[in-house]
Symmetry: C2
């Protein structure tokens, strides 16, 4: 069925899709970095810019979806070609969610304008963000290069992000107990930490899409997780920390 003409037409459609996904990825990375910069510098204007940028990501996702569907209908790709198109749609869905999460962080910056300056905790958030942003960058590079080993490194690396998130949660809760004036700000930081942790989860989803692209089957292994924040219990008084077994979050 595939004449040389349709094969060429397909390649050019796919190239354009890949370019759009890369553009979306660049935007998402910038939003992650800027949302945390906005937090650190208490820069409300920058926070609002992150919020505004989300519309662009949403729009790109729609464009990608539309083109992907048209490509499938027009070129009737099979096997690996079809997977390439489905893969682009899936990566775009994860990037759209990453944009949402960064936007939510951007919004919270305005609410944090107070005397609450728990530098150590904010540094912790910053460290976690650096890690997650490098995970997102690596997985997008792996997607562009169809580099499965690099994708699997990201997939396994998320465990470290989870562990940092859980310990940040405990520190934040302890802080809030010691100084009830910090409860509102502490809550916003808890949500920001959770947002960053979830961005990390979406990076692992993209790694799973790369696996599917290359192998044609979903990745069956269960990802090691160390995020216990949904089951953290911090007790007041002499600090006691209990934690239940955790399961996978996103997906």
């Amino acid at each position: 069925m595939a004449t040389e003409h349709t094969a060429k037409a397909f390649d050019s459609d796919l190239q354009e899709l890949t370019r759009l996904v890369a553009e979306m990825g660049g935007l998402a990375e910038r939003m992650i970095v800027e949302s945390v910069d906005a937090l650190i510098r208490r820069d409300i204007v920058l926070g609002k810019r992150v919020v505004a940028a989300d519309a662009e990501i949403d729009n790109l996702q729609h464009v990608i979806e539309e083109r992907a569907v048209l490509t499938i209908a027009r070129r009737q790709p099979m096997a690996v070609d079809l997977r390439e198109i489905v893969g682009a749609m899936r990566v775009a869905t994860d990037l759209e969610r990453i944009g949402d999460l960064a936007k939510n962080m951007g919004k919270r910056v305005a609410a944090l304008e107070s005397d609450f300056q728990p530098l150590k905790l904010i540094r912790g958030l910053e460290h976690m963000t650096d890690l997650v942003q490098s995970q997102v960058k690596s997985v997008l590079d792996a997607y562009a290069a169809h580099d499965l080993p690099a994708a699997m490194t990201v997939w396994k690396g998320d465990e470290e992000v989870d562990a940092i998130c859980t310990s940040l949660f405990r520190e934040l809760l302890t802080y809030m107990m010691e100084d009830p004036r910090s409860i509102t700000a502490g809550t916003h930081l808890l949500f920001m930490a959770k947002n960053i942790e979830r961005i990390g989860d979406h990076a692992t989803n993209i790694a799973e899409t790369i696996y599917y692209l290359i192998h044609g089957t979903p990745l069956k292994e269960t990802r090691p997780k160390r995020d216990r924040s949904s089951s953290s219990v911090v007790l007041p008084g002499p600090i006691a920390v209990a934690s239940n077994e955790s399961e996978q979050e996103a997906k």
Copy 2:
């Protein structure tokens, strides 16, 4: 291009897709109800059942995506037929996210096993969940019936969910300030309230998909939002509440 045979084959593909989406929707609704039942009754086993059910939803989403893509490739549907397939994929994506959010609530139930029983707040959460669950049910009925007015009612109704969420946030923060022993449990309830609010956002996304199905263009109007929880500031002492302007959350 569409012979009678392909038209019939397309109809049967579409019917099967719609059936799968309805099955997924039923599961998602049940997860929402059960996660809050688990909270109210402190039923850890039920909470775990909700967590386990998420795998089924994820699996259904994959099946729907796969079939949708095969239908597009095989039948080459155009215009409204193509929109039907894309619509099914979009609704499945939102239902998958709803499943994730309900699962996260199910996980938190175990962490709440304590003496913390703020009945009024838990009732508030329950009320909010009832509302959101009926929004999800209504929008899925509207999707099955292609009933745009019903979908738009859901779309506009989310404002009430947002308002309840914002006021629950303030109450919870106040509670936590008054009694630091409630901070950990209060935090879990804050996250649960936010999860329910986000489930409501996904119901409005589905309403937007119905609009797109029927009109062939995205809904351009901006949805009225009253969720101020990302920018809530509750000050200790004589209760003072400040709130910034809020923007749209999901999408």
